[in-house]
């Protein structure tokens, strides 16, 4: 296995005359916690879509473990360990939490095409699903249909689904979006507690959370990567202050 979990090379994408990704060059070493920040419309979610194959880049290549995955379909990338979550809950409303995660585990283990055997035979798969739910404090509600779960629990279920696919690289699109501030800290504590060999990149607007949980920060503006560095470097970077943070630069010193 290589040092770098994920890399992009000259990734470009535009919709008509609107450039949403311009020459994106990223190298994410294994196990590092990255934050991806930038003003609205900077192309952060687009970048996640491009990396995971939900969008096709106009040019450029994407590598997972030094292997070119640019031509693979999203589900093929997921099976190789490149996994994302969504900013807006995208779950299975009528399935219970346990059913949802069991489904993801079955897909990961390649048994989801088996139609002649009972689900209850798959004890390992169900146990693993339950274990993941427990680790995210969802075990008490695992028999509830997803649509009846509290919003914060649904955000955790997003992460549980991603974990069930055994990710090597996990891209979290605003994992705490819409979650009250005190709860979002718990949510990030859960993210911080993820196995160390998983490379995590999360989009987040709350600078306090970014500075507490990220070991490196990528700043995007207008479809390009402006700068990449440690939180301290980003906080003192004059470019970042000028272009992105502007008048709220003082807030950076919080963290």
């Amino acid at each position: 296995m290589s040092e770098n979990a994920l890399a992009t090379q000259g990734v470009n994408k535009s919709f008509g005359s609107l450039i949403v990704a311009s020459d994106i060059e990223l190298t994410l070493p294994r196990g590092v916690r990255y934050a991806l920040i930038g003003p609205n419309g900077a192309g952060k979610t687009t970048l996640i879509n491009l990396i995971t194959g939900m969008l096709r880049p106009d040019a450029g290549r994407i590598f997972l473990d030094d292997e070119d995955v640019t031509s693979l379909a999203p589900e093929q990338r997921v099976r190789r360990g490149l996994v994302r979550t969504y900013q807006i809950n995208s779950l299975f409303p009528h399935l219970t939490a346990l059913e949802s995660v069991t489904l993801a585990v079955c897909e990961q283990r390649g048994v989801a095409r088996t139609w002649w055997r009972k689900l209850s035979v798959y004890r390992d798969e169900v146990d693993e699903a339950h274990h993941i739910l427990s680790s995210l404090m969802l075990a008490p509600v695992c028999h509830r249909p997803t649509r009846e779960l509290a919003y914060g629990q649904q955000r955790l279920l997003e992460i549980a689904l991603a974990l069930a696919t055994r990710p090597k690289v996990l891209l979290l699109d605003e994992p705490a979006a819409g979650v009250p501030r005190d709860e979002s800290k718990e949510l990030f504590a859960a993210i911080a507690g993820l196995p160390r060999d998983i490379t995590v990149l999360f989009i987040e607007h709350d600078m306090e959370l970014v500075f507490r949980f990220a070991s490196r920060v990528i700043v995007m503006v207008g479809g390009r990567v402006l700068v990449e560095g440690t939180p301290q470097e980003i906080a003192s970077d004059p470019q970042v202050r000028a272009v992105y943070l502007g008048k709220t630069a003082g807030a950076l010193k919080h963290g």
Partner: protein
């Protein structure tokens, strides 16, 4: 919804597969026509066959969210296959079912590649198109299919060389019911399998499935093929028990009727489709006796009433009622 507690996480899945006493009662009640209404066994047989056909649509529509307005195409392929094979001199019923299922399954597999690429409205158009194409193809190939007049000269042999298909429908109903029950058992197993869970995932949120590593297209092709096989078996059973096959078996009316029955009974519940078939076919029989000219008027009224009052179909309404009674007691 689920307020029960389960000892272990597996028990939840175990509990889903357990037979409820109502299910057993339902299947026992299916035997009643032999005793109570022996004059209606021909109708009962047609209901059982239609129920099988509705079950096949439920697998794709109710469990996987694939809408179809041309499902009769696969039913008809099954019918014509059995009819032709019988005309050419082989009238053994069980191999007939097999051949009907295989032929419809092949056609289903081929068309599934188009089906898997689309959803919603586009699917309605495509399935409708497939159905219309097949009707006209069968109509123009009258040297093979008998065209508008239907296929002549079908003769079904005795089952196991023993049970002759009689005029009153004893054998026909017993046979259709047995086929329905066996296929139902397979379908019941299927929906409680890992694959069945994946199908429900597709129905709930098809967009999300690739993000958990699911090859959605592959799943859809598989279930569409399985549903086509079951539709073909239903069509084959009808051809064998009635010893006639006509263009009507492929037609739009049948596709529309089966959809109506499924929605009437309740989608995604296995038993909903069976119940829908029973209610619809019995109502049609009674209304047409009452008023031969205008009986579709009453069917229309029934449809509107059910959809307005019971959005989850008859079975959905019954489930709700049962739950209320339980809470009240």
């Amino acid at each position: 919804m689920t307020t029960e507690t389960f000892a272990g996480p597996q028990d939840f899945f175990q509990a889903q597969l357990r037979w409820h006493w109502i299910e057993i009662a339902f299947w026992l009640a299916m035997l009643l026509p032999f005793v109570l209404t022996p004059n209606y066994l021909v109708l009962a047989s047609q209901i059982a066959i239609t129920a099988l056909f509705v079950l096949s649509l439920d697998l794709i529509l109710g469990f996987s969210g694939i809408v179809s307005l041309g499902h009769a195409a696969y039913f008809g392929v099954g019918s014509y296959t059995v009819g032709l094979v019988s005309k050419w001199g082989w009238g053994e019923p069980l191999t007939g079912l097999l051949l009907g299922g295989i032929a419809a399954g092949l056609f289903g597999y081929l068309t599934s590649f188009i089906i898997a690429r689309f959803r919603h409205l586009a699917l309605i158009m495509i399935t409708l198109g497939i159905g219309l194409l097949l009707v006209e193809a069968a109509n123009s190939a009258s040297w093979l299919t008998g065209g508008f007049d239907g296929l002549q000269g079908i003769h079904t042999w005795r089952i196991f060389n023993t049970f002759r298909f009689d005029l009153y429908g004893y054998t026909a109903y017993g046979y259709s019911l047995a086929v329905l029950f066996v296929v139902f058992l397979v379908a019941r197993r299927l929906i409680h399998s890992p694959f069945g869970l994946a199908l429900r995932g597709i129905r709930e949120n098809g967009q999300r499935m690739p993000a958990i590593g699911a090859a959605t297209g592959q799943h859809i092709r598989t279930i569409y093929t399985i549903a086509a096989i079951i539709a073909g078996i239903a069509g084959a059973t009808l051809a064998e028990t009635t010893e006639t096959v006509s263009l009507e078996s492929l037609g739009f009316q049948r596709s529309a009727d089966v959809l109506v029955m499924l929605i009437l009974g309740g989608t995604g519940r296995l038993y909903g489709g069976l119940l829908g078939a029973i209610v619809y076919m019995v109502a049609r029989d009674q209304f047409s006796g009452l008023n031969p000219q205008y009986w579709y008027f009453w069917i229309g009224l029934l449809l509107i009433a059910v959809v307005v009052l019971l959005p989850n179909g008859i079975l959905g309404g019954l489930t709700l009622l049962a739950r209320r009674l339980k809470v009240a007691s």
